[in-house]
Subunit: 436 residues, 2 copies
């Protein structure tokens, strides 16, 4: 059986009842890496021998936990005590941390096998590092969690970790046709994860589908209620959804708009109660506010990089960081005040909706590897601090996914994941019909 | 002139106009360390030669910025590229980071001289590391920023950095009679600062008085408006203050209550408009909510410590961390929901007040070095995410300070600092009269 093709949820069942050995599963993932890595370039470091050894140990031991034998790709801005962590930057070439990031240690303890470190854009910002979209090698996988999205999409790992400060988990996941999940701000511990802009930095997750990402999140956050309910009746219950074109609608291309409208009709036909949601006028300022917040915080956060390593980071990143120094404290505070005001309004905006459905990108993944794509459909939702989950809503002119995202209220992640699962299933069913 | 006795603000004036050399000032601080460190034990590491060398360089160079020649004590949970960072724990003995924490790099760039790393309780939690209160060596300086508060109180440094997750900046500053400032959550960048509980961790500051701490904060946050206004008329304007006994009033001792009531009368007599503020009933749950949030987040954040270093951390810390594993995700979410609700209510609670005045500790610093004091007067305000500044409101039975704190609205730090300055001046004046 080609185990790399299965969802983590199905592999986990087999691993837990020992009908599948960890060694067999890990070997299947490594074979898949052998087959696809030379062209996809998802990994910064592969821990081949260590992973097989760990798998054999797991096979000799009692079941360690829910992650027993499942494989993980770790974005290269998560510290790992047994692998280098270089952040995609010459400034940290060969850097070896002394500790695991908190979520990595948690996943190890429940039996995850760490296959390797996945490629990040430089310091989880925008200069790309050569990863290609496994669905179409001439296109970008997006960023900054480029390697994580590509590794999951190429079926090399069960799961991968990401981070999101602008749109670094949702957009690459959407471009690669897999499920990205940006949890509520502070739902996942950040200890040992490299910081960019504290008030937006969020640990993200990438998996094959919504069930998998929820399963993964429950382990990572130590919060079992994030898992999808097992009762099929609960899962089948149609959600109330807000279709929302957002104030950034003009930035989407024609294909995205068509996918959005088609998806709305599909979800309604499938039984969802669908509302048209128009965001309040105050939300118009959020895209700029997020840019202000991130530039200000990033230029402060990178103070030591600017001071002692400016010759080692790429000129485009240096330039943008220096530009952040021009943002004033007053501009920053105004932006944060607007963000806080809109966060307070957001539950009322949602009204009786379980979640909103909005575009996750302006279109399909752009051609080329030098540009990780337009972040403008992600920034507002990162700033709002609530959960977001990517789902495929259609396919673009090059046959690549057009991603939507299901966004919810802060700390309402379980409900948002459940709504996203329902949306995902019904959109997948329609897309499968169209393609057959 | 005994420069170590002067405020940083006054020393800075002399350093900026070159009437005081950096070498002379640094030497004065080092002499002060020689005199008091053997009994106070504020430092984990002293960078004597490096500091003098840096001072001589500064004397040969153009003025680098506002911190030119001023001296800093750095809590030993801030990464420094040129000094070890051990977090007060055997688990990190000899650990040498590759980077400066963001705020440290920022302060270096504006000319600060890094005298050394100050003692922290273990991993900025509660097991103490032997620092003594410079005002009375038989008493604790408080914690977790024990060495930072003690070093400033003993006039060894111009400023010191701290952190606060429960009450780790305000309480030790209050116990040692200096000014602690816990800024609004996320006002200071945390890159390179060791994490405990993400949703509460805040970079804190310790200085001689409110003017100094505001000066220091403006440099650290790259936000000039945090400095006190120079116009004496603006500074003299009496604030509107809310006297608030809080729902934790029963935990304060008699001396603290007397100091609180006396201070209220003093501030009113000095011209402040004083309101009695009773917090809404919902705030009664915040102390427990904060404990729940911190225990849950800390036990997740310390996952690698638990996994690989549990034999190296002290049994009491291990035990408390393991206890945090018993908090459920649901309990955590309920606590966060209450916190968010109270944060939204807080601006209305303040009404026309510029800030509240509340106790900063239950009493004066307890006797002994094994206990860093009761955190219950600090936790609610850390959870509220707004600014807090400690001021001395009286003296206890052992002659040690009884600290109050001035707390304000989130991101309203400049106004809160201004109010705290006014409160500080008027309480100081009264205490000086009483003592003379």
């Amino acid at each position: 059986m080609a185990w790399h093709k299965e969802t983590a949820f199905d592999a986990a069942r087999a691993l837990q009842n020992r009908s599948l050995s960890a060694e067999h599963y890990v070997a299947a993932c490594l074979e898949r890496i052998d087959a696809r890595e030379p062209e996809v370039r998802a990994f910064a470091h592969i821990n081949r021998e260590g992973s097989l050894q760990r798998a054999r140990e797991l096979d000799r031991q009692a079941i360690q936990g829910a992650m027993h034998g499942l494989t993980l790709g770790i974005k290269d801005v998560f510290d790992t005590f047994d692998m280098p962590t270089e952040g995609g930057s010459r400034a940290f070439a060969g850097h070896q941390p002394v500790q695991d990031a908190a979520v990595i240690a948690t996943l190890r303890r429940t039996g995850a096998v760490m296959l390797g470190k996945t490629v990040t854009t430089e310091l989880a910002t925008f200069p790309t590092n050569g990863t290609r979209n496994p669905l179409h090698l001439d296109h970008t996988p997006g960023g900054s969690s480029s390697g994580s999205a590509a590794a999951v999409a190429a079926q090399m790992v069960s799961f991968a970790t990401g981070t999101q400060t602008m749109g670094s988990t949702i957009r690459p996941s959407g471009y690669c046709g897999v499920t990205g999940y940006k949890p509520s701000y502070n739902l996942m511990p950040r200890r040992g994860v490299w910081a960019n802009a504290d008030s937006c930095d969020t640990v993200g997750l990438v998996a094959r589908d919504v069930r998998d990402v929820a399963f993964f999140a429950a382990e990572m956050a130590r919060y079992p209620a994030l898992r999808l309910p097992e009762d099929p009746a609960l899962l089948a219950r149609a959600p109330t959804l807000g279709l929302c074109r957002t104030w950034e609608w003009e930035r989407t291309d024609e294909a995205m708009r068509a996918a959005f409208e088609d998806s709305g009709r599909t979800l309604s036909a499938a039984g969802a109660r669908v509302r048209e949601i128009v965001l309040p006028e105050a939300f118009k300022g959020l895209l700029q506010a997020h840019t202000t917040v991130v530039h200000f915080e990033m230029s402060r956060g990178f103070a030591d990089v600017l001071e002692r390593q400016s010759g080692l980071i790429r000129p485009a990143l240096l330039e943008r960081t220096l530009k952040g120094l021009e943002v004033t404290g007053e501009q920053y505070q105004q932006a944060q005040t607007l963000a806080r005001r809109c966060r307070q309004m957001f539950p009322d905006v949602l009204g009786d909706c379980d979640a909103l459905v909005v575009p996750a990108a302006t279109g399909e993944a752009p051609r080329g590897q030098d540009y990780s794509g337009d972040t403008s459909m992600n920034q507002v939702w990162t700033l709002m601090h609530g959960p977001a989950i990517s789902v495929t809503g259609g396919y673009g002119p090059c046959g690549l996914p057009l991603a939507l995202q299901v966004v919810g209220r802060i700390d309402d992640d379980a409900r948002t994941l459940k709504a996203a699962h329902w949306v995902h299933l019904h959109l997948q069913a329609r897309l499968a019909r169209l393609r057959s």
